[in-house]
Amino acid sequence: MSRFYHFDTIALHAGQAVDGEFGARATPIYQTTSYVFPDTDTASSTFNLERSGHVYSRITNPTVGVLEQRIAALEGGSAAVCTASGMAATYSAIIAILSQGDHIVASSQMYGGNISLMKNTLPRFGITASFVDPMDIDGFRAAVQDNTRLIYGELIGNPGLDILDLEAIAEIAGEHQIPFMVDATFNMPYLCRCFDYGVNMTIHSVTKWMGGHGVAIGGVVVDGGNFDWGATDKYPTITEPYAPFSGMNIWEEFGPSAFATRIRCEAMRDIGASMAPMTAFLLLQGLETLSLRMDKHISSTKVLLEYLQAHDQVAWVNHPDLPSHSGHELALKYLPKGAGSIVSFGVKGGREAGKPFIENVELASHLANVGDAKTLIIHPATTTHSRIDAEALVAAGITEDMVRLSVGLENVEDIKADFEIGFRAAKRISDT
């Protein structure tokens, strides 16, 4: 075969060999902590990375490994490492290459957890960050310092939905021999494969659309295999001998998967925010239908955008697929299938009117998640982004009246009918 499998096929099959003992078609759940070595030579050589194999499920696990290879394949990356959550993925990825005294240039419009990590937690360990408006390309260039070791952003900012110009940022990163890492949770490889635009590594909260059913927490780091670590002396954790593994030079030994290997050897071993096998199994079930679900998410989003724009009780609607959105042209370039299924809008009457809207809808669930099969709503200023200060709130594009909507897979007419109940309740407040 001289051509490669398509996205839908990879989502179903990649990474899984049919179980050789019983012929199980589904991926078996290897619920085990550890693995029996046939002899001492195999044991020592597996520990020393002289051969492949599993040692302990904090480091690798066969069920988790299927999910890792499947996501790497979907993303077009050389390797992937799954973690206990998306935030564990972000932290594991950053500490793989940054140390005390290093600096990050990051988009100001990101998930609140990412902002808090870089603004509050990492500085305690000597890693600082500068935040830049995602639309301000010159601002990214100007923010790069001598000690900058990473540029970080989200293609679709959460929750403001600004679009990051990946190629422009990748060019700046390339000029400074700095890797460009993107939290690609909102776009997934189905809507945009970031490595095609010069991104070097991606992070996903697999909890969201990839898993898609709101039943398991998980994250993943994908190594694009396209950053030349050896071209600079800025990344000694990759290019210098690593004492815990007999002085191994990870870059020399593992080439395009050096970054993923460092995470596996260090973060998974020393910190251990690993994914459970049952979690991997649940997320694999969701991943199998990602393309089908995303097509429905996107088509329903388009219907709801029209509905919300025309509604008397809606003050404003924000989504990159709308021509009025500041990132619309970039969305057409990077997200031609559609710019995701998160919509933000304001309910007329401000925060006081938004409250009855959220409390009176019945199908839409009021909770702190996105990317579920079910429609979800939340008020970011008082929940997901409540731990960041007022200035950062503005920088993140969050207003007091903003409602964040994660469009689900229900019949879209039922979602509209549900919203009518909420809007009637909101109108009673805004009219008084």
């Binding site: 990375l49 051969r51 492949s52 599993h54 290879q69 499947r70 050389s78 080439g255 993923a260």
Partner: protein
């Protein structure tokens, strides 16, 4: 590590241990468009068992300075230059695909340095489809897709791989895509024009091992049978389920065969 050959910088991994030329040497040779990372699951094993391991990037590949060598004969000369520069003998050569042609030519011309030869998925010659050479010259991404598409078996196409979390196929695309495009065409033309394989094979007298893949679409059965028929008492193995990228696809089986053969024929202290 880096060293110079005729003023050109050469990169080679040593399997994670310092290169000790006084130990028996194992040199791993990669195929067209690839590099040292192809041998990661084999090189470290020998390096940690008292062998001096050398896994070079051929000139023009990944970390070694170009240009690429334009003939198999030139690659054999270059390999001898490497051995001379590092002052090494007692060499076991392990080679894959194009590397096998280089190993045949090198061992036939410089037999005193050789202790054993392991040839993996190769024939006596590697005639290359003109369409592939044309693609390598003008549309390298298409050529790379063709080579990896044919090179891997089903497991490779499904992004399986022995290293947890790693996609063999994507890794191959990164390595080949990262090399300067014209180097792949140079490799393929070198393979296509090499005509001394039969002569070289018939000269060899030391221990020779041939490891073949049952699902190899790059080195078909007829070609590999011809290689075997012209070697003197080779040890032949066929791994039925593997494709052309055998050392990546079935590393444990491959390493076990290499271990038994090299431990027997080039004993380390």
């Amino acid at each position: 590590m880096y060293f110079d050959i005729k003023g050109k910088k050469v990169f080679a991994t040593t399997g994670g241990k310092p290169f000790d030329k006084d130990q028996p040497v194992v040199i791993f040779l990669h195929g067209s468009g690839l590099d040292h990372t192809f041998w990661g699951l084999h090189s470290r094993f020998f390096a940690f068992r008292k062998y001096a391991v050398l896994v070079p990037d051929l000139p023009g590949h990944t970390h070694s300075e170009g240009p690429s060598l334009t003939s198999i004969e030139a690659m054999a000369d270059w390999l001898n230059d490497v051995a001379t520069a590092l002052d090494i003998d007692n060499i076991s050569v392990v080679a894959h695909s194009m590397g096998c042609l280089t190993a045949l030519e090198y061992a036939s011309r410089f037999p005193t340095r050789i202790r054993s030869i392991s040839l993996i998925t190769s024939g006596l010659a590697t005639p290359v489809n003109p369409a592939l050479i044309e693609a390598a010259e003008n549309r390298p991404d298409v050529a790379i897709a063709m080579m990896l598409g044919w090179g891997f078996g089903t497991a490779g196409h499904l992004h399986q791989g022995p290293i947890p979390g790693n996609s063999m196929l994507a890794g191959g695309l990164k390595v080949m895509g990262g090399n300067v495009p014209e180097e792949l065409a140079t490799d393929l033309i070198a393979c296509d024009t090499y005509g001394s394989g039969k002569l070289a094979a018939e000269k060899l007298r030391g221990p020779i091992q041939v490891i073949l893949a049952g699902k190899d679409r790059m080195a078909p059965r007829k070609a590999t049978a011809e290689l075997v028929s012209h070697l003197h008492e080779p040890e032949v193995h066929v791994i039925a389920g593997s494709g052309h990228m055998l050392p990546l696809e079935v590393p444990d089986e491959c390493r076990k065969l290499l271990k038994n053969f090299i431990f027997t024929n080039n004993t380390s202290s």
